[in-house]
């Protein structure tokens, strides 16, 4: 029966090659798969060694995917207005099937992602992997670090509870001290900046963290920042390949 199925045109149109364990099929397994195609067919052996890579970049990407999926599910139950936001959180935590699990996974994965990004950066630094020809990919990585922090920070406000509103208040209060752009920053007053026209006002959509801030952070958190992060991730992964694959000592670069 299964053998019959494998001979049909439909099956053959989906799976281009057999699964028999041959050198050729192992290679095809990678190049014929759009997702695995991110990888080269062969890598130097140290690249598969967790002691070298720590696996932190890969885990970060996995967590980003988890966050995207759980985040979209949460969006079905959440309205970003001061009137409903907190009510929706209560509803989610108490009445929605698997609601707490989805929210918990979203929050813990977010924390974990900040952690793994830092560790990934630590590893890349310690192996000197930012050195030529990978200088620019390190810069892209720094941008991704900043985007990760911004994503986490903007998501912090959305539950609209005491924890979120005050954490974001503390964080965004810094903006009022921005030199030249904030009303309490150096030269701010001299330039005619007030609480209602400086950079913090733009960020919050008001003079304090309020309903317009919630909407701003929501759109930034769910649409703008993930989109930008995705673009930079695409560049980041592509550059890993283009810059000669995973870093390694000179001798491992033979035959590429």
């Amino acid at each position: 029966m299964l053998e019959q199925l494998k001979k049909t045109e439909v099956y053959k149109s989906i799976f281009r090659h057999s699964y028999q364990d041959t050198q050729r099929n192992r290679a095809l397994q990678i190049v014929d798969n759009v997702f695995l195609h991110l990888h080269p067919v062969r890598v130097p052996r140290h690249a598969t060694n967790l002691g070298y890579t720590w696996g932190m970049g890969g885990i970060t990407f996995l967590l980003f995917i988890v966050l995207t999926i759980t985040g979209v599910i949460l969006m079905f139950y959440y309205r970003p207005t001061a009137q409903y936001a907190y009510e929706d959180m209560k509803y989610l935590m108490n009445d929605v099937p698997f609601g707490p699990l989805m929210r918990n996974m979203h929050r813990w994965a977010a924390h974990a992602m900040v952690l793994t990004v830092m560790l990934h950066m630590f590893r890349v630094f310690l192996t000197g992997s930012y050195k030529p020809p990978r200088q620019f990919n390190w810069v892209v990585g720094v941008i991704l670090l900043v985007l990760t922090l911004l994503l986490s920070f903007s998501g912090y406000l959305l539950p609209w509870d005491q924890l979120s509103i005050w954490a974001v208040t503390v964080g965004t209060n810094m903006a009022r001290a921005t030199p030249l752009l904030g009303h309490e920053g150096p030269f701010g007053a001299q330039l005619g900046l007030r609480p209602d026209n400086d950079v913090r006002f733009v960020l919050l959509g008001g003079t304090e963290v309020g309903p317009p801030t919630l909407l701003r952070f929501y759109v930034g958190h769910c649409i703008f920042l993930p989109l930008v992060a995705t673009i930079f991730m695409v560049v980041h992964f592509w550059r890993v390949r283009k810059d000669g694959g995973i870093s390694g000592p000179e001798s491992t670069k033979k035959g590429f």
Binding site: Q23, A27, I30, L36, H39, V41, R42, P44, H46, A47, L50, Y52, G58, L62, A82, M89, K90, M93, P100, L101, N104, M105, R107, W108, A109, H111, A112, V114, L115, M118, L119, F122, L126, T127, Y130, K131, P132, Q135, V139, V142, V146, Y156, W160, D161, Q162, L163, I165, W166, A167, T178, P179, G182, G185, F187, S247, G248, P249, E250, T252, K254
Partner: protein, 300 residues
């Protein structure tokens, strides 16, 4: 002590405990690998220069790691609920009010600097400084393997910045800063009525130059004193350059790269000096230093 353990076990603080544990583990791992590599001709990584097929050898590892991560995440999420406090209330300010944990190092900086430095200039310098690393580190060695011997300055500087100024300050900000952002040792109870009696002075006042004149305007002498301190500190880089500019290494580095490295390095060290100016006098019962340089527009 119970309160310290309570804060330690708050669900939102678990990532910090994980951060501390993993940073210690990975620093140790690095050290072991670097030492081993430094003692032999070829680094371990170079011995693994044969090629393996990504399918199955790499994909298998990725798959197992993904399963492990998902399992940990699900278990973590089943047993620990994400915090949800009372509904947002602008009229009720919690004490202490803390930013998300990864920004607590920066919030801790607010003790030592005005917000425009701690909250804006410092993060900007960190981001720019990180981005500049590949372009100012001209040492071609240590590319693609663990080593300490071949890049001591780079590893020590980054290690100090990351482990001490980032991770350790996050730890302090989360676990040892209580109401009013006052410092409490582990085991001390966070007393919301505790008031730290501090008489802050400016650095110039240690040298007998008062910051304000009797009519409460800025003393020009103090202004000049502060400017000399700040610019004098940064001009150390110029002194070092004049002394070493003919060295082989400095010639290769060039004046432009050197300026960036020395500016970023001195800024980082300046931060440490300011922390000591603030905390050091307290150990001797003297008054902590608030500002090094007071101007009509900003204070450093």
């Amino acid at each position: 002590m119970r309160q310290f353990l309570e804060i330690l076990s708050k669900p939102d603080n678990l990532p910090i405990v994980a951060l501390l544990a993993s940073v210690i583990f990975f620093s140790w791992l690095y050290w072991v690998k670097a030492k081993k590599n430094d003692m032999q001709e070829l680094p371990e990584e170079a011995k693994m220069d044969d090629k393996v097929q990504v399918w199955p050898y790499l994909v298998r590892t990725e798959f197992l790691m993904a399963i492990a991560v998902m399992a940990i995440l699900v278990i973590w999420s089943v047993f620990l609920n994400a915090p949800l406090e009372e509904s947002a209330n602008r009229a009720l300010t919690p004490n202490p009010s803390k930013a998300p944990w990864y920004f607590l190092g920066l919030q801790e900086m607010l003790v030592y600097f005005d917000p425009w430095i701690a909250g804006v200039v410092l993060p900007t310098l960190i981001i720019i400084g990180l981005m500049a690393i590949p372009y100012v580190d001209i040492n071609p060695k240590g590319n693609g393997y663990y080593t300490f011997k071949e890049r001591k300055f780079a590893v020590l500087t980054y290690g100090f910045g990351f482990l001490v100024l980032w991770v350790f300050l996050i730890f302090i900000g989360t676990f040892l800063r209580g109401p009013g952002w006052n410092f409490f040792w582990p085991g001390e109870t966070w007393d919301p009525h505790y008031v730290a009696v501090l008489t802050n002075v400016d650095l110039s006042e240690y040298f007998g130059i008062s910051t304000r004149l009797p009519d409460n305007t800025l003393n020009p002498a103090a202004f000049i004193f502060g400017a000399v301190c700040v610019f004098g500190f940064y001009s150390l880089s110029g002194v070092y350059w004049m002394k070493k500019r003919n060295d082989e290494f400095m010639k290769k580095l060039g004046f432009f790269r050197y300026s960036i490295v020395s500016f970023l390095f001195l800024s980082m060290m300046g931060l440490v000096i300011k922390i000591f100016l603030r905390l050091g006098p307290l150990m001797f019962g003297a008054n902590p230093v608030k500002y090094v340089w007071v101007t009509p527009w900003f204070n450093v």
